[in-house]
């Protein structure tokens, strides 16, 4: 179906150009086959790439998860946060600090997620009564506090970071070789993405969208706006924390830069590059961003400057990201076809 010609209302900003009819099937398979496609495509790419690009892709899929968790806030719920790196960093530091424990790698990820959820709930509760813009400022402050704490708290080792974080083994498979770690991380990422997709399509996810679009109306029809916002913040924090744990295992080192303000900005740029509105937009944007970063600006000393210019260009020219550009192209194509 396409936009009606009866009443050509102006497109509402950032709204999708199409409203797709809801799936007829009782069992929605998207949460299963979409992550599977994601897994297969990235893995196929992984095995044809040279090792240095394999390394980039290995980080990119972790960032894909991280950017999707930001999408939960910006895209699904309409919560603006400028300190999302804090949760990624908290997750990474949790895994790093617990490295002496004789746990399996999955237990570390669980702990990373859990600790990040606790942090997110605390911040969410403090900020619960704040308006949108003030909340955005609060997240920025909290992010910066987390960053500064790494220098203040001796056990966090300041700029040196914490290293020698073990990868361990899962089901008897040693994760030290890059290929085994690839399989481990892509499977974890795909499963979490599948769970997120399921949540996205559930009434819970629909309610978050409703809050994003009109919080007053959402409350009027009985959606508990405050608690769902808090739940979304906790979910996003937890997933970011899990991604952070994975990142710590991947690189075996954690430094304050995982919590930095610039990194929070990078996550926003990744998600924005792909498009915040679609489920897969942020993930796509993260992978794209990693490769642009590696190929074009690999050794640039003007990283921050270039980052700012990219962000400004995306915001001003393509506010709905790569997915938005695709949708617009599809729209044009459909229109030209219907004209014939």
């Amino acid at each position: 179906m396409s936009v009606s010609v009866r009443n050509p209302a102006p497109p509402i900003n950032a709204g999708p150009p199409f409203v797709t009819a809801s799936s007829r099937s009782r069992f929605d398979l998207r949460p299963i086959y979409e992550p599977l496609i994601f897994l297969l495509v990235t893995t196929a790419a992984y095995f044809v790439m040279p090792p240095n690009m394999q390394y980039v892709l290995g980080i990119a899929v972790i960032y894909a998860l991280l950017a999707t968790s930001l999408g939960v806030l910006f895209g699904w719920t309409g919560i603006y946060t400028f300190g999302h790196a804090a949760f990624f960093g908290i997750g990474a530091y949790a895994t790093a600090l617990l490295k002496e424990q004789a746990w399996g790698p999955l237990a570390f990820l669980g702990m990373s997620a859990l600790i990040a959820v606790i942090a997110a709930v605390l911040i969410g509760l403090i900020g619960q009564r704040l308006a949108k813009v003030e909340f955005a400022m609060l997240t920025m402050i909290v992010g910066q506090i987390a960053y500064l704490l790494t220098f203040r708290v001796p056990v966090l080792q300041g700029d040196n970071g914490i290293y020698s974080i073990p990868r361990g083994d899962v089901f008897g498979i040693d994760l030290t070789p890059p290929v085994s770690f690839w399989w481990y991380s892509i499977i974890v990422v795909a499963i979490v993405m599948g769970v997120l997709r399921r949540i996205h399509l559930s009434p819970f996810g629909e309610s978050l969208n409703a809050i994003r679009d009109d919080a007053v109306k959402a409350a009027a029809i009985g959606i508990p706006v405050k608690s769902l916002r808090l739940a979304a913040f906790a979910l996003a924090g937890g997933v970011a924390g899990l991604a952070g744990g994975l990142f710590a295992q991947q690189g075996s080192i954690v430094t304050p830069s995982t919590l930095s303000f610039t990194f929070s900005g990078q996550i926003i740029i990744m998600a924005l590059l792909g498009g915040m509105m679609g489920f897969w937009g942020p993930a796509l944007g993260a992978i794209l961003f990693q490769f642009i970063n590696a190929l074009v600006f690999g050794n640039s000393t003007h990283g921050t400057l270039v980052l700012g210019i990219i962000l400004l260009a995306v915001v001003m020219l393509f506010p709905s990201g790569v997915l938005g550009v695709f949708a617009r192209l599809r729209d044009l194509l459909m229109r030209s076809r219907s004209r014939q």
Binding site: I126, A136, M137, L148, T262, H302, L307, M316
Partner: protein, 293 residues
């Protein structure tokens, strides 16, 4: 340390915070834009002064010229930002504007790194201002007295400008209702540009004034913007008076922490933020728009 000297050093600590925060809140109150790049403007002010003064010991006129030049250049940067970016996004949604100013923050900071490098710089104060004086038997640094003086001048000046001048009247009208402002024939475009310039100039002034007291590097803005964000929040978004009260509160409590409770140093303002947000989520003098500054 006596009570008086602690108080004065606290107020002096609060003044640059007030300058940065009042610029931020003024822009928000009138235009409705939260300028994330504000902290980077502050740093540009500080860096410019270090370049102008270099390693010399400046005379008072040189120092004044350097400080004013810093404020003026930053005002120009702010106005350039308004005309090239911010102005084109007024009709877009909130988040677009936040992201755009965030991008400008990255650009300005990146450019500052490119121009000035990452190393820290320190400059001298004019000779006459580097000493101290005796008031009621306690030693007070002269530079602190200068800061208190500048803070008072700016606070009174802003009050008069907003509440008593013709320009202030159009500013208040536009803060209330932009469309109405336009309808009654105000040049809203120009007023908004000037407000953006004025707010930025305040950030530049703060940076220029603080330069002799700290080591200046492009990342100086991070810690500072954080504190001024906190001040804007606890003062109430859009309230200049609120940011004055909050800045003094932060400054004085930090000075008392330094004097009497060293283990709290650097954390007082986080505590203040948390407490005030819990008690008064709209800030001390919170209102969404700038009614009366």
């Amino acid at each position: 340390m006596t009570l008086l000297s602690t108080l004065i050093s606290g107020v002096a600590y609060g003044v640059p915070l007030f300058l940065v925060a009042s610029g931020l809140t003024l822009i928000y109150g009138v235009i409705g834009v939260l300028n994330f790049a504000h902290g980077s403007f502050f740093v540009v002010g500080a860096l410019l002064v270090t370049t102008i003064i270099g390693s010399t010991v400046p005379t008072v006129p040189t120092f004044i010229i350097a400080v004013l030049a810093g404020a003026a250049v930053v005002a120009a940067v702010g106005m350039l930002t308004e005309t090239t970016v911010v102005r084109h996004l007024y009709r877009r949604d909130h988040i677009t504007m936040l992201l755009a100013t965030f991008a400008i923050l990255l650009i300005v900071e990146g450019a500052a790194e490119g121009i000035w490098g990452n190393s820290s710089r320190a400059i001298n104060k004019p000779e006459i201002l580097s000493g101290s004086t005796q008031i009621l038997g306690t030693t007070i640094p002269l530079y602190d007295i200068l800061l208190v003086f500048v803070g008072a001048v700016v606070a009174i000046g802003l009050f008069l400008l907003i509440n008593k001048s013709t320009f202030g009247r159009s500013v208040r009208a536009i803060a209330q209702d932009q469309v109405m402002g336009e309808a009654v024939g105000l040049n809203t475009k120009r007023v908004m540009l000037l407000v953006f310039g004025l707010g930025s100039a305040l950030a530049g002034l703060a940076g220029a004034l603080i330069a002799p007291n700290v080591s200046v590097s492009p990342s100086l803005g991070h810690a500072f913007i954080l504190q001024s964000f906190a001040i804007v929040i606890i003062g109430g978004l859009g309230s200049v008076t609120g940011s004055l009260v909050a800045a003094l509160l932060v400054g004085v409590s930090e000075a008392f922490a330094v004097a009497y409770a060293t283990y709290l140093t650097g954390f007082t303002f986080y505590i203040l933020v948390a407490v005030i947000l819990l008690v008064r989520p709209r800030g001390l003098l919170g209102s969404a728009k700038l009614g009366r500054a």
